[in-house]
Amino acid sequence: MVYLIRVQLREDYSNLIFYLSPLVAVALTLFFGSFIFLILDLSPIESFKIFFISPISNSYGISELFVKATPLAIIALGLSYCFKNNIYNIGAEGQLTMGAIFGGGIGLLFNDSTSVFLLPLMILFGSIGGAFWATIPAILKIKFNTNEILTSLMLTYVSLFILDYFVVGPWKDPAGYGLPKSMPFPDAGRLPVLFDGLRVHIGVYFAIIICFVTYIVYNKTLFGFKLKVSGLSSKASQYAGFKYKNLIFYTFIISGACAGLAGLFEVSGPIGLLYRDISPNYGFTAIIVAFLGRLNPIGIVLSSLLIALTYLGAEDAQLFLKIPSAVGFVFQGLVLFFLLGTDFLNKYRVFIK
């Protein structure tokens, strides 16, 4: 008797397990998370209350939840196009940064403008910036079959240095006491907030619209069908005559534009200017969100709220429990580990013998 546990490839495909496994992953994360709190000599129940409940127990907290969830949802929705097609664009952080540079650059160029067209122009350029940065790995993939995982990742670091160059160099605020940041954008270039005194902005509407459009694309259009077929089997899709290279190009452009849009929303919304750390790893965390949401538009929106809560909880934990806010990353990492692990149950039947 060598193996106690045996596995067998599933012949039937269970929808129930597919949608239930994210919940199992979250439950396992909470279970292991409570051990972490115990090791840190904190009561797990109290800590979870501070981590997951108190951050959203008032209107300010709920507003902040949406502030964090909006970029995550927009980026993850864009990434889902690539991931559905089995193309791994992991450079969303770079595309976000480029969106902020392009769109933010327009805001700084017209810094005395009061025109109502300034913000739409910034939004347009933000998306173009992100899409432009995504075309580089896309074209390299199509023309030379270069590994898009590594190129998109490398380009992320290049874009961070480009942003750094602008905020310490040509775009540095002359009245900024030499700090590495730009001038604030003019009021016409700021994203309108939904409620006075709260930071939640109209980006939420964009996230909802993108979610809705994505749902339609995936379920009702030929393009969505092509993505699905090509993701399941690129050979089958080529046999059916779908132009695989075009699919790669379009999915990269869509995900890049979404990430760029999210980047522009960050700088023209909550931040209001350009500086070095415009994103707390939204581009990478959105990869978790996309997987957790099962590449399903509605699932992505729900998981973006959950992951946004780990950001908020971590900030509160730092304040009230005196533990570093990086504990949020521990939860994000754990949830992804468990999610990927439980995925195994979708493909294989496990029995003990």
Binding site: I90, V158, I288, Q332, G333
Partner: protein
């Protein structure tokens, strides 16, 4: 430029590049067997903090080195279990490992940030890093086990059909890579800094990843590449001190741009064969197929 200045610069390059050599050579072996581990940054940070905390608590260098290595074995073991046994997506699992490692190391190290310690002499590790590169080069090209590692990375189905244990081979190479990353982290917190600070590896894990591709999976090229990458970073600081008016960010992005160019060159199949890129990289191995 005087001789003293040049020697001084070379010395700094030598000391600051060693973590890249450690993490890079580990990842090279992992990738040679067909597994892409994006978790280097996380592994390095946890290795750094584990070694540091143990040293503060026990004052014993041997224990701290040992526990740092163990942390690498455990974390890369988890990664190996997920990607090999549960056949999870290697990219997502590696990113999870990095995110988890950043969080875990910051949490564990909070109380110890800023504690002074007596650092170890970096030259021991520099010598070890050179020996390591040559042994890995010898192992991969001259030994039977090295041939098995390459066979598994080249075509896991053929290797399996020939009777080699694909899963076991990859477990070993992943754990080797994990331990090397921990050592890179240990070197940073115990020899190079010597101190602990949140996120102190400062993206070296990603540069090491770029380095492996830049070196086209050849150990000796990795060594040369590491010193080019490390040298460029040091050059940038010195050139600015001398008054050269090129933005520093331009130098900082060179390693990444160089890697992209190398990636493009090795993409065509002919060159790919010539440059020995492992064909099964990032493709999961499923026995049941």
């Amino acid at each position: 430029m005087s001789i003293e200045l040049i020697i001084g610069i070379l010395n700094i390059v030598l000391i600051s590049t060693t973590p890249l050599v450690f993490a890079g050579i580990g990842e090279l072996v992992t990738e040679k067997s067909g597994v892409l581990n994006l978790g280097l940054e996380g592994l390095m940070l946890v290795g750094a903090v584990t070694g540091f905390i143990t040293l503060v608590l026990t004052g014993n260098y041997f224990y701290s080195l040992f526990l740092s290595i163990i942390s690498g074995v455990i974390l890369s073991g988890i990664f190996a279990f997920l990607v090999l046994n549960l056949m999870t997506n290697q990219i997502a699992t590696g990113l999870a490992l990095t995110i988890f490692g950043i969080g875990l190391s910051a949490m564990l190290g909070k109380k110890f940030a800023g504690t002074p310690i007596d650092g170890l002499n970096p030259y021991y590790f520099i010598v070890i890093s050179f020996l390591l590169v040559f042994s890995v080069g010898y192992f991969l090209s001259k030994t039977k086990s090295g041939l098995i590692v390459r066979a598994v990375g080249e075509n896991h189905n053929s290797a399996y059909a020939l009777g080699y244990n694909v899963i076991k081979t990859r477990y070993l190479t992943i754990i080797f890579g994990g331990v090397m990353s921990s050592l890179a982290g240990y070197y940073i917190s115990i020899c190079y800094a010597p101190m602990w600070q949140e996120g102190m590896t400062a993206g070296r894990g990603w540069i090491a990843l770029a380095l492996v591709v830049f070196a086209t999976w050849k150990p000796w090229r990795l060594l040369v590449g590491a010193y080019i990458f490390g040298g460029v970073a040091i050059m940038q600081m010195n050139l600015q001190a001398v008054g050269v008016k090129l933005p520093g960010q331009f130098f900082n992005m060179m390693p990444y741009l160089a890697t992209i160019i190398v990636l493009v060159f090795i993409s065509s199949n002919k060159l790919r064969l010539k440059l020995s890129a492992p064909s099964s990289l990032n493709i999961p191995f499923e026995k049941n197929q």
